[in-house]
């Protein structure tokens, strides 16, 4: 199965504040470009109850891939990363916004990239919600994510806390999810199969699973035409 290594990675610390929405939409306060170690709060929803109110802070992780080599339909794909020291948090992969990392992966992650994901305006979801694991995480892409793999040559992903950052649900305690950035983050994909045979004896190939009792996928060619 073909695999792409991440072109560039990083995470951004938002700007803490007493207003929940502003903490999600203000520019970041610090950007960490191309980290190489274990980061225990690469994705975070922070809350401190404070003095008659509270303080909110969010961390988001961005990962970009060069997908220019993917030109045909992708049947399935997985986003693979190593977790680290996570709490019981729920994450989700979102379309990262094409301007991240300078729009081509050639520029360091910036604090202004924090809201490139446009969190309040229903960003495209590249995955369903998933639970972070401290081991290997392999997250399946949605059909929207697969379509954009083909349509875009530059493919930025943003990982956020699904419960408190994407959803409008203010945290009442801090949840954080870690990433072992020292392990290469990868995108593994499988292209949709193609065949030069459109039909057999008038029957569309998609309706046929075997021919002469042989499973179709085990047949290389029929009458000299490759399957």
């Amino acid at each position: 199965m073909p695999t792409l290594n991440a072109l560039r990675v990083g995470y951004i610390r938002g700007t803490g504040g007493t207003n929940y929405s502003s903490a999600k939409t203000n520019n970041g306060s610090t950007a960490f470009d191309s980290p190489t170690g274990n980061v225990s709060n690469a994705i975070m929803a922070f809350f401190s109850s404070g003095r008659g109110g509270g303080t909110y802070l969010f961390h988001r992780t961005y990962v970009a891939f060069d997908t220019s080599g993917i030109t045909s339909t992708v049947q399935s794909a997985n986003f693979k990363f190593s977790g680290h020291s996570t709490t019981s948090a729920i994450g989700i992969l979102l379309s990262g916004g094409n301007g991240v990392f300078g729009g081509d992966g050639g520029t360091a992650l910036a604090t202004t990239d924090f809201n490139a994901v446009d969190i309040l305006n229903s960003p495209t979801q590249f995955s369903t919600q998933f639970s972070f694991s401290t081991g290997q995480n392999s997250i399946s892409f949605t059909s929207s994510g697969l379509t954009q793999l083909v349509n875009q040559s530059y493919y930025p992903i943003c990982i956020v806390n699904a419960t408190h950052d994407l959803a409008n649900n203010a945290p009442s305690s801090t949840v954080q999810s870690g990433i072992a950035f020292g392990t290469t983050i990868q995108l593994e994909y499988e292209l949709a199969s193609t065949s030069n045979i459109l039909n057999l004896n008038g029957e569309p190939l998609s309706n046929i699973t075997s021919f002469s009792s042989i499973i179709l996928s085990n047949i290389g060619q029929i009458n000299g035409i490759s399957n």
């Binding site: 610390r13 803490g16 007493t18 401190s48 404070g50 003095r51 008659g52």
Partner: protein, 188 residues
């Protein structure tokens, strides 16, 4: 790690702690609030009688409450670094009772009061404050609390509250950065 596990730093003008996960400091209380503490004390002591103060902090409001002619002054404090300071401050003052722990945990053992001032930090039970008011304050008694909202509204959604505005000029801090403070006034 909760607020109660944090080591507090006491300086002449503030109490604060460093939060490793947040990557910065939180001021818990600062002396720029002095005039607000004075006004809050004046409000809750208007009926004199028995006063309940939840949260000792720097002891500013406690000092102002003591300056009024009240019958008793009960203070609840839960942070282990502040409790000794509250006890030391209360030493030799005859009408003060210091109760340690969470106000919510001890509320069923409390009396009812003529005045209540609620001002806490990192209070896991702050959402219970509104529903607890009527059991802590006598009918006709008054209550105020730290109001983090700079408007005629309050975080606890307590109804029938009036507000008095105070101009303030706080230095940048983690809990209040507006120039108008709306002191809530609630009569039970």
């Amino acid at each position: 790690m909760s607020y109660l596990d944090k080591t507090l730093t006491f300086e002449s003008d503030k109490i604060y702690y460093y939060d490793e996960i947040y990557g910065g400091s939180f001021e818990v209380m600062m002396d720029w609030e002095d005039s607000l503490m004075s006004a809050s004390a004046t409000y809750v002591c208007q009926n004199r009688g028995d006063i309940l103060e939840i949260g000792f902090g720097m002891g500013i409001s406690a000092g102002y409450i003591q300056s009024h002619s009240i019958t008793s002054h009960t203070i609840i404090e839960n942070h282990p670094d502040i409790i000794p300071k509250a006890k030391a401050w209360a030493s030799g003052k005859s009408n003060i009772t210091i109760i340690t722990g969470s106000w919510y945990d001890v509320k069923d053992n409390l009396s009812t009061y003529d005045g209540l001032f609620y001002d806490t930090w990192g209070d896991d039970n702050m959402n219970q404050f509104s529903s607890s008011l009527s059991t802590l304050v006598k009918t006709g008694g008054v209550a105020t609390w730290w109001n983090t909202l700079s408007e005629e509204n309050n975080y606890y959604n307590i109804p029938n509250v009036t507000y008095t505005q105070y101009s303030v000029n706080p230095p940048s801090n983690s809990y209040f950065n507006n120039t108008t403070y709306y002191l809530p006034q609630c009569q039970l």
